[in-house]
Amino acid sequence: MSAAQPVPPEPETPEPETPEPVPPELADGRHPTNGLDETVHQRHRLGILTITAEAQRAEFGYLREALGLTAGNLSRHLTVLEGAGMVQVEKGYSGRRPRTWVRITGQGREALATELHALTELARRHTAGHGASRG
């Protein structure tokens, strides 16, 4: 008989940035969740795209304050979006003060429109579901 061996603790997994996987019963070809892009769906990255789509370009400081992020976190999200070709980051100076501007690309606009369409469709289904359960 062998003594019970201590179970090694599971390594901590970082909090996922992407949404939970779509349940199989929803993942048919017609469900709006298929329109959700993991790069865009993350809340803060979606916020960055939403704000930059509203302006010709947005300044790093505005994004940081509007989204309530630290500079490091915002930089990380921008790197992901820039790597996916969804935003362009421009560095420059205003007088002696360094400024970083973020501009959405055509690809970013397209991804945002797809994402918002999918979310709208999901919200519509949610509302319809609630209506049906009440009825």
Binding site: E25, G61, Y62, L122, R125, H126
Partner: protein, 249 residues
């Protein structure tokens, strides 16, 4: 609910899905709020409204230039000053100053507006794509200068001559109106679009009709003051609204 106190799998799944769908709905609401907030912070159109309202007011002395005796009959020929779309109507040679005023006012106003939007972008951290507005107004101003000489090359230029629109020298008001519509598009502002349409109506009325006919006691300057008043009142309203939005944020 099942006897063991657990919901059946399908019901539990339905609950999770409903929760997930609800969170997507919240996300959508949050994004809409971010967009609204960014738009409110970006709006800065009170300045061009005020600027062009003042520029129109400043043009009144030029409209008041007296026509020399014997030249008071409007000539329908295209001979004379070459800037009739900007107020230098053929036959009214003195109105040439008005045309020069409008060239300086329109182009200077554009430059000031461009500088304003650049300064505002640096201040709030969001830039408005004002280039569409600048290009529209600049192209119309250049066209107003270049089209009349080109029309003279035609065999019968009178066919294309917008006689009524240029007779009172108020065609520049129309150029400003079209520019403001382009700015409304750039600013994505329904309020500015409504202002631009109301102003365009006032500008057309001033260009086509003697407004003093319906406003007894007023001089002919009312034709200039009416569109200017629309812009200045709208500028005051826009300034108050934009300031309120900023302080609320």
């Amino acid at each position: 609910m099942a006897e063991d106190g657990h919901e059946p799998a399908s019901e539990a799944g339905h609950g999770e899905n409903s929760e997930r769908l609800g969170s997507q709905s919240d996300l959508l609401t949050e994004m809409k709020a971010l967009r609204r907030q960014a738009r409110a912070a970006r709006h800065a159109y009170w300045f061009p409204l005020a600027l062009f309202g003042l520029l129109i007011c400043a043009s009144i002395p030029f409209y008041g230039q007296r026509v020399p005796r014997g030249v008071g009959v409007v000539s329908l020929s295209l001979a004379g000053p070459t800037l009739p779309f900007l107020g230098g109507y053929p036959g009214f040679h003195e109105r040439g100053y008005l045309a020069y005023y409008w060239i300086a006012a329109l182009l200077g106003g554009l430059l000031a507006t461009q500088l304003w939007y650049r300064w505002h972008a640096r201040r709030v951290g969001l830039a408005t794509p004002a280039l569409v507005y600048l290009i529209t107004t600049a192209v119309l101003t250049v066209a107003a200068i270049a089209v009349p000489p080109l029309l003279q090359l035609l065999h019968e230029p009178q066919i294309l001559w917008p006689n009524d629109l240029v007779a009172r020298g108020m065609f520049p008001f129309i150029i400003i109106a079209v520019g403001l519509l382009a700015l409304a598009w750039a600013e994505r502002s329904r309020a500015l679009a409504v202002i631009a349409v109301i102003y365009a109506g006032a500008a057309l009325l001033a260009g086509l009709y003697n407004v003093s006919n319906i406003m007894p006691g007023w001089t002919a300057a009312v034709n200039v003051l009416l569109p200017a008043a629309v812009l200045l009142l709208a500028a005051a309203g826009a300034f108050a609204t934009q300031r309120w939005h900023r302080s609320a944020a």
